[in-house]
Symmetry: C2
């Protein structure tokens, strides 16, 4: 089937949003944890737009929509410049999805969904205790994308917590062993099954499957 | 295990890159197809940073590293303002990964990997024939991210090709039925298995699983 050129004008608004959200492929499923001094509260919001931006410095980016349920996430990050990113796993899938409900202003999604805020030493933004891969970031850049009035947040990684048995000594992290799941579109959640790990590609050499049995824990 | 604060300075450069690339979660696996009038050639490059940016207008973004194997992708998009995005499936996984090899300047990865360029009507950028979900985009914005000298490309979707049996009448696209796979880190490829499709979250209502048997094809 082709939809070419795309008859966007003829599509119902919600059908269109559902469709376009599917087109980038599978997406990461993460919970962004924030806090506000001003309002003495916390916020937790599921996002599917987090992306790797670079390893040196260690940067991640994600997109927020200022007029959606993400709006407190943006407000609190701009206030305190710190946030956590926590991988969603199957045991917290429903609670994670529930964080996208439009709660009253300054109600914490931790309280509303039953997910547990977890604080490490003197870090102020809350982690999600039930998440197995938890990352702390400091705000570095904030770009307004005028083309559709969204905001891109860029954070630098300062702290990382991962399960001991998921990290190998070549630096690779086995996300399946950590229980991480992924998303497609607005509402489909998927587990994964590794097909292969492939060798670094070179022009004059065939790509091969990497045998991980020779790798030790980090 | 914790890595807190992260001992980045003590980590080998490649170990560090491998590790940080895993932290955002599962990533989309897409091939970006481009062409150059000036050099009378095409380019094909696997990327894992494509993200949904908005449905109205229909926008996607991705990150390119000007000094990596992506550099021709960036050069050709800036020249011609058009490109394709093609989902990777298991049958072309190895060839897709091979596109990341550092080929000679203006050698086409189509020729080098055996993937088939496919042209639709008068559209100039090449699709990947073996890909089941294929999208045509026009360049809309191009942001230089000075924090790590990467470039963010924003394209608007103009044409879409999807398999007939993967699109439902609510607009949702079943990526598993289309064979789309995902990536983690630099080199792990994963198939997926849907856990659930969840209802739109509301503050006063429990999230439920959506029964898709009542949905028809688009």
């Amino acid at each position: 089937m082709k939809i070419s050129p795309v008859p966007f004008e003829q599509m119902d608004q919600r059908v269109r949003a559902t469709f376009i959200n599917c087109l980038s492929g599978f997406k990461s499923a993460n919970l962004i944890g924030t806090y506000s001094n001003k309002h003495q509260t916390t916020n937790l919001s599921i996002i599917s737009s987090a992306f790797h931006l670079g390893a040196n410095p260690a940067l991640m980016g994600f997109i927020v929509r200022p007029h959606s349920t993400d709006r407190h996430t943006l407000e609190y990050i701009l206030e305190t410049k710190e946030f956590t990113l926590n991988h969603v796993n199957e045991s917290i899938m429903i609670q994670s999805h529930q964080t996208s409900a439009r709660y009253e202003r300054h109600q914490s999604e931790f309280e509303m969904t039953g997910l547990t805020p977890h604080y490490h030493n003197d870090l102020k933004a809350p982690f999600v205790l039930e998440s197995n891969i938890r990352i702390y970031l400091e705000l570095r850049e904030h770009h307004h994308l005028s083309i559709n009035k969204t905001e891109m947040i860029i954070g630098e990684i300062t702290h990382i917590f991962v399960p001991e048995d998921s990290l190998l000594n070549d630096g690779s992290l086995n996300l399946e062993r950590a229980g991480t799941i992924c998303l497609s579109g607005l509402d489909r959640y998927h587990g994964t099954k590794q097909i292969a790990r492939l060798s670094y590609a070179k022009p004059d050499k065939a790509v091969e499957e990497i045998d991980e049995s020779s790798l030790n824990r980090f």
